[in-house]
């Protein structure tokens, strides 16, 4: 079992409260997932000539040393903003290929750290422990932004570690959280590896994330990628997928994993259960519905 929450703001006046609103929702999902928790938050997009990378390391990681290694290895000045054992790195990159090169250099040369997200607006923070502890550690309640996803994990398919926690990044500014279990993930991991998709763990949900990355790299839109996921991924799932400009929700055709959607003039929210949505302002007047099986719901800024 796991808990999922997602929040997309339609009213910009609420952007400074995004972290607090999401944190209140996530804490409600504690008993669905007390093993670990994670948040993907979209804010402060960098300019077109830069890339934003979230790194995660051990608790005693020396970010000053990492910064000088980046300076030396990439041959450019980078900004490193530490937040506990995670740090947000901003580096110069004029296109996707250059962003990939930087990510590749980090993966090959900095064995102490792992990349949790890559893009222009996304940042991912995740850790073992109760949602409340994770929220406090990364000061999620103080964060602002346009939209965010969160996950609380009760592991059934693979180990309880920070690396196995959600959200999983699925390429530039994309991430996925999952409640459920996939049954054909080993087969798809092998196939996707041969297509050049990199995996950090043996986790089933990471395969769903990798699958979307692969479909998007072939030119599919996020809705097209999710449409083909219904055919290709076997198992139980409610997915919430974050994109640079919005988010999408998909349940498998059997739909035994719960999901609730709610919308007001100010926000769109999704959660595994209504009690997370009940924390939001004016939730009592929201339009509330259960998403249909195998139907894609998505919201994007125009």
């Amino acid at each position: 079992m796991c808990g999922i929450v997602g929040l997309y703001l339609k009213n910009p006046a609420l952007e400074r409260n995004l972290g607090k609103m999401l944190a209140d929702m996530l804490v409600q999902m504690t008993d669905r997932g007390p093993d670990s928790a994670g948040v993907a938050i979209y804010h402060d997009p960098v300019d077109a000539k830069s890339v934003k990378i979230t790194l995660q390391g051990p608790d005693d990681v020396d970010w000053v040393a990492i910064e000088s290694k980046l300076l030396e290895g990439l041959g450019q000045h980078v900004s490193v903003t530490p937040l506990a054992n995670h740090a947000v790195v901003i580096a110069g990159a004029s296109d996707t290929a250059q962003s990939d090169d930087i990510a590749g250099w980090i993966e090959s040369n900095l064995d102490q750290v792992k990349i949790t997200s890559l893009g222009s607006a996304i940042e991912i923070f995740k850790e073992k422990g109760l949602p409340d502890q994770v929220i406090k550690k990364f000061k999620i309640g103080d964060m602002h932004g346009t939209h965010a996803l969160g996950h609380t994990r009760m592991a059934t398919e693979s180990a309880v570690t920070t690396e196995h926690s959600h959200p999983f990044s699925t390429g530039l500014d994309l991430c996925l959280v999952h409640n459920g279990s996939l049954s054909n993930h080993n087969q798809w991991r092998d196939k996707l590896r041969s297509e050049g998709i990199r995996f950090q763990t043996d986790n089933d949900s990471e395969v769903a994330a990798g699958y979307l990355t692969w479909r998007l790299s072939q030119g599919a839109t996020i809705n097209q990628a999710l449409e083909s996921a219904i055919k290709d991924l076997d198992g139980f799932y409610t997915f919430a997928v974050g994109t640079r400009d919005g988010f999408a929700v998909l349940r498998d055709p059997i739909a035994c994993k719960p999901a609730v959607l709610a919308e007001t003039d100010d926000w769109v929210a999704m959660s595994s259960e209504y009690r997370a949505i009940a924390q939001l302002p004016n939730s009592e007047s929201a339009r509330i519905w259960e998403p249909d099986p195998a139907r894609i719901y998505s919201w994007e800024k125009n």
Binding site: A255, P258, E273, Y274, R275, A276, E284, I288
Partner: protein
């Protein structure tokens, strides 16, 4: 009138009150349910319970005798294993409402999601809107009335429950067939709609039930075991 505000009070306090014999004949109002689980579960006596707001999993589970109304939506497992009494939801209900319920009346004024009335064992369920897939799966007895449409595999492996459907089923499950509406069925359906307070003409409904072909072992199917 006794009131429980679930913003402050534990759900357990409400439920313990409903388990005690002094709840007999009382009227109880529940405010700020906030999607909490197990609200008004295990009630045993003739108590009127009005829940003002949305509830989470397993609301009104195992109900006996009480009349419970949710003025909002209900999460998964509403009125699971109800024995008697009545449960009404003004909004929608999530999956497997009325699962395994033995008796009483469950009314969902809006829509019910997948697996409505799964393995029902004598309960009457009236849904004002539509229901999701795999509803009335292995339904043993009782009546399921749907005023809207039904999702895929309606009544799969059904035993002796009766289904009345006003709209269309996306598909019928294995061993579920349409059956003729006789006078006794019109009468029965009229009574059910009256009890539920939902106005529709019984003649607009079709009846479905078991073809009874799965009841006995067929030697032709031996390879399937």
């Amino acid at each position: 009138m006794r009131e429980f505000d679930l913003q402050d009070a534990e759900v357990r306090m409400l439920n313990q009150a409903l388990h005690g014999s002094d709840s007999e004949g009382q009227a109880i109002a529940v405010v700020n349910p906030g999607g909490k689980h197990n609200v008004a579960a295990g009630a045993q006596f003739e108590t009127q319970v009005d829940i003002h707001g949305h509830v989470g999993y397993y609301c009104a589970g195992m109900n006996q005798n009480a009349r419970i109304t949710v003025h909002g939506n209900a999460g998964p497992g509403l009125a699971e294993n109800m024995m008697s009494g009545s449960v009404a939801v003004k909004g929608n209900a999530s999956q497997y409402c009325g699962a395994t319920a033995h008796g009483g009346l469950l009314v969902v004024e809006g829509d019910a999601a997948a697996r409505c009335g799964i393995s029902m064992k004598g309960v009457d369920i009236v849904v004002g809107g539509s229901i999701g897939h795999m509803s009335a799966f292995m339904a043993q007895s009782g009546r399921l009335v749907i005023c809207g449409d039904a999702g895929e595999s309606l009544g799969d492996s059904i035993y002796e429950a009766r289904i009345y459907l006003r709209g269309e089923a996306a598909s019928l499950g294995t061993d579920c067939i349409e059956k003729p509406m006789e006078t006794e069925h019109i009468k029965e359906l009229k009574e059910l709609l009256n009890k539920a307070g939902i106005k529709h003409e019984p003649a607009e409904f079709k009846r479905y039930g078991s073809a009874r072909k799965l009841y006995n072992f067929q030697v032709d199917n031996v390879g399937a075991y």
